[in-house]
């Protein structure tokens, strides 16, 4: 399978990349890890006139916790960088739990976190994670930078809120008021498969009280599902059997699963509810400093 013909540029700066996108008037596409785009080029689901390869722009591969506790992930951070980061393991449990479950270990050496969020695959793990973490993207275009909140970013399957001449330069996860807790669970038929159903949960805890929470789902709808409303069942409360059951039911109600070769709709909804419970129970059993 060969891609159709395209022009290729590999700029050294973000400004140059934006200029190329702008000149492309919607026919130019960013190439990041290429682990979704190159397969799509080969299948000719995508046939851009021009690729703008951002892999040679220096300084975009940072994972940084700022002094205020916010987490910044640059556009060239690969899935495996997150999987191996000690800081992520220690401070951001939702991302730490999801990282080893994205694709397979070889795809993870190339694919990027930000590219995956931009790709907005309904089964993608990172868009769901970002929604549950109440994150936002910093994007840059010809007129400068703006932030796009994750709740406004995913417009549909493979559709995001970027203009054709904008690049997502980093993902930001706001600081927790207390301690960041949470988790990620995914049911897959085999390693590297996309999710049959997966659940991202973020918790912001002070001692054993929930200050904030977030929920999002992948694989159980036409797009990434924002289930953050379910946080209302937990905020200001402790994680008890009753609050956990209520939150899990609210999250499961948000799922829009369809029966397919990966399982029945009913089964997938049941998995979602079970996964939410498992993650919350695991967090209720952890002693919070």
């Amino acid at each position: 399978m060969y891609p159709s013909r395209f022009k290729y540029e590999s700029p050294k700066t973000i400004a140059e990349a934006i200029k190329l996108l702008d000149a492309g008037k919607g026919e130019a596409k960013i190439l990041a890890g290429g682990q979704s785009l190159v397969p799509m080029l080969k299948l000719r689901f995508a046939f851009p006139e021009q690729l703008v390869d951002i892999n040679n722009i220096p300084g975009l591969d940072y994972i940084r916790f700022d002094a205020d506790g916010s987490l910044h992930i640059g556009a060239l951070v690969r899935h495996e960088h997150l999987e191996k980061s000690v800081e992520i393991t220690n401070r951001q449990p939702t991302i730490a739990a999801a990282a080893p479950l994205v694709a397979d270990p070889i795809v993870r050496t190339r694919g990027t976190f930000v590219g995956s969020v931009c790709h907005a695959d309904p089964q993608g793990d990172w868009a769901a994670t970002m929604i549950a973490l109440h994150g936002y993207l910093v994007v840059q275009g010809p007129k400068g930078k703006r932030n796009i909140d994750m709740k406004d970013f995913v417009l549909g399957p493979y559709a995001n809120a970027l203009n054709y001449n904008e690049i997502a330069i980093e993902a930001v996860i706001p600081a927790p008021k207390g301690v960041a807790r949470g988790g990620y669970l995914k049911l897959e038929r085999r390693v590297g498969d996309f999710a049959t159903a997966s659940v991202a949960v973020s918790l912001d805890m002070s001692s054993d009280t929930v200050l904030g929470a977030g929920f999002a789902l992948a694989g159980v709808g036409g797009k990434t599902i924002d289930a953050n409303e379910a946080a209302s069942a937990l905020i200001g409360q402790k994680l008890t059997d009753a609050t956990i059951a209520k939150a899990a039911a609210l999250v499961a109600a948000k799922a829009e699963p369809r029966t397919d070769h990966r399982g029945s709709a009913e089964y997938k909804r049941h998995i979602i509810e079970t996964f939410v419970k498992r993650i919350l129970i695991a967090n209720s059993e952890q002693k919070v400093a």
Binding site: K7, G34, V38, D53
Partner: protein, 175 residues
């Protein structure tokens, strides 16, 4: 011959420049003129005639095309050849020296870790990446590291044993 590489040599689209790229393959600089849409796996196999790197699924699933790119394993069917410009690529042909097999190759031989051999180059390159990071992997760690590589013949058991064998030999060589 109507391989893409030949096609590209004979019919470059007028508005798409063919570029000359130089890639460091198994320690040697190699140069080719390529159109941007050429995949790395085709550059290796068709331009450089390094046919040890296999193309299995062509959909980024099987890992038969795994090579090391600046030391990390990648699926060469999912990278453009132009992206390798100036980078180091290691293929299975780079494993053995003139007189000696690499311990990973020896391990595959000792433990009967292949049948048809189609997946073997990718398996060995993925194993090399693992052993460069961790010379004392557990069986679980090996299975995990090779989970992006599919084998339709062996049932994996002997592949895992082969990597354990190689790790032991490489540790012994260090001492």
């Amino acid at each position: 011959m109507s391989s893409l590489y030949e096609e590209i040599k004979s019919a470059p689209a007028s508005d798409i420049p063919v570029r000359q790229i130089t890639v460091n393959v198994n320690g040697e600089p190699r140069t080719a003129n390529v159109e941007p849409r050429l995949l790395l796996v085709h550059l290796l196999r068709q331009a450089f005639k390094l046919t040890g790197t296999h193309s299995g699924c062509d959909t980024t699933n099987c890992g038969a095309c795994t090579v090391l790119f600046d030391g990390r394993p990648i699926k060469s069917c999912t990278m453009l050849a132009v992206q390798a410009e100036g980078h180091n690529v290691e293929t299975v042909e780079g494993l053995a020296s003139a007189s000696e097999l690499n311990p990973i190759q020896e391990g595959f031989k000792q433990e009967h870790a292949l049948q048809c051999g189609f997946c073997t180059p990718g398996m060995m390159m993925a194993a090399k990446a693992l052993l460069e990071e961790n010379l004392n992997p557990t069986e679980d760690e090996i299975r995990w590291a090779l989970s992006g590589n599919l084998c339709r013949c062996t049932g994996y058991q002997n592949i895992v044993k082969a990597v354990l064998w190689a790790a032991e030999k490489m540790r012994a060589e260090l001492n």
